[in-house]
């Protein structure tokens, strides 16, 4: 009897401990969100914030439209660079994954994931900025692509590996060549999982500041020309938050909120895609 009571007590205590730890883990996230929303909302609620560009301190109606489009353009170009290579590379790792080369690719990707993003920025500065003697959105996109590539590669690999082997065998038994099986059967079956990886990579790239500091550099004016310096939301946060001017700091909070919202949105999308992938894989 008392033994049973002790067991129940420990069970309750353990459960309480787990709840407490979970709450502590969630606390920073909640605080960041709360802080960003309350501080960012005043700027983000104004229409000008989305349509105008930066203005000198004290002049009302400033906005971050140039940074918003800058983020979209650079992340877009980076996606075009990183996603095809990453997806095809991920397929290769699963379908032909035995030898030395795939092992090397995996190692390189894992190292790249852990590489400080500022180092990546510096590297791209050396190869894509310094030789041309000016900053450009293109070089920023290259830096972001370098950061996205390993994420896309590795998540594609795990999504492809989830596809039941039966589909692969059934395709080969129909006489398909291996590359056709990979592209026409395996990839569609893994599409939601691959999409998840791409979206996660996009979210990561959209939030990166360091690699843009000396590649895209930032720009106070609106431009869509990828050969010129371009602003991005994280750059606005970085520059404006450090100024002593109240309205610029408010802009920075607004940009931060916008960035968090974009990232959250992308993450939710990727979650939905992942759920579909799991349903597909389990349905076999």
């Amino acid at each position: 009897m008392s033994r049973n009571r002790r067991r129940l007590f420990f069970s309750a205590a353990a459960r309480g401990g787990i709840w407490l730890m979970a709450a502590i883990a969630l606390l920073p996230l909640a605080l960041v969100l709360l802080h960003t929303v309350t501080n960012g909302l005043p700027a983000a609620l104004s229409v000008n914030f989305y349509t105008h560009v930066e203005r000198p301190v004290g002049i009302p109606g400033a906005g971050v439209s140039h940074a918003l489009t800058g983020t979209l353009v650079m992340v877009g170009i980076a996606s075009l660079l990183a996603i095809p290579v990453g997806v095809v590379g991920g397929i290769h790792l699963v379908e032909y994954g035995g030898g030395q080369l795939p092992r090397g690719i995996r190692l390189a990707a894992d190292v790249l994931v852990g590489t400080p993003s500022i180092a990546v920025g510096l590297f791209v500065y050396a190869i894509a900025v310094a030789p041309f003697h000016h900053f450009s959105a293109l070089s920023g996109a290259v830096a972001l692509a370098v950061l996205m590539l390993p994420i896309v590669l590795r998540t594609t690999e795990s999504a492809i590996a989830l596809v039941p082997n039966g589909i692969r065998e059934a395709g080969l038994a129909l006489g398909l060549a291996r590359w056709r099986v990979a592209l026409q059967l395996i990839l569609p079956a893994a599409a939601p999982g691959v999409l998840t990886g791409c979206l996660l990579a996009v979210a990561r790239a959209a939030g990166e500041t360091a690699p843009l500091l000396f590649t895209a550099f930032g720009n106070k004016f609106y431009t869509l020309d990828p050969t010129r310096a371009m602003s991005a939301l994280p750059l606005i946060v970085f520059h404006d938050a450090l100024t002593p001017y109240e309205d610029l700091v408010r802009q920075a909070w607004g940009a931060a909120l916008l960035l968090v919202a974009l990232t959250l949105f992308t993450n939710v999308l990727s979650r939905l895609a992942l759920r579909r992938q799991i349903a597909l894989a389990g349905g076999q």
Partner: protein, 282 residues
Amino acid sequence: MVARPQTGTPTAGSSTVSPHLTALEGAPQTLVSVEGVSFWYGKRQALNQLDLAIPHRRVTALIGPSGCGKSTLLRMLNRMYDLVPGSRTAGRILFGGEDILATRQLLELRQKIGMVFQKPSPFPMSIRDNVAFAPRLLGWGKKRINDAVERSLRDAALWDEVKDRLSASGTSLSGGQQQRLAIARAIAVGPEVILMDEPCSALDPMATLKIEDLMRRLVETYTIVIVTHNMQQAARVADHTAFMLMDPEHGYGELVEFGNTTDIFQKPKDPRTEAYITGRFG
């Protein structure tokens, strides 16, 4: 019922020719001729010196305990073992005058020798697209593809159940229906041989019965080779049965006895066959 096969007597050629290579009495001509075939997974030998004459338009069952290499033999018939790194073969498998083990025309080979697996694995696309997949690959015209889809689904006894929802996903079907879809998919391009690797082991008895009925009808058009763990199934559907066993000393699979199914089950010549079918081991 079926005449006793001549498996014990030496053939007209030389006495060194394996008895299993002679066409069974009462059986039509040999379609696939397995001659002195061995197989290695890396260093481990899985099959040793198999001879087997697979008759045209008959159901041939491969039975035997786990690990005897029956699936390996089946997968050699359409070169699925190519996927296994480090695999090695010896001997030859003649089909239409060509050695399956040596051919480089894998695409053509697999269109002539289709395969159905234990798990149906419908492709993540519609029922119609599942069946039309291989015909499209061959670049058939639209009309021909549509005809092939209907004919294959009819032949696979699935047409009446799915004709109103050909656009539904292949994964929405029940297990038994999925397996019949897999059969329809395999016969869409008109193969000569259908290999079945334990096609019913994941199905309930009713679905199994349907597949077995289907096999009896399919064999009017196709040659079927089936691997099964279920001896009753072999007894029900197979015209000819090959019993395989792992050599306890060397660890590789060997063919013990091949003959008409009734003989294998009622008057097996080898004591090991008798022991297996009476359930004393395996």
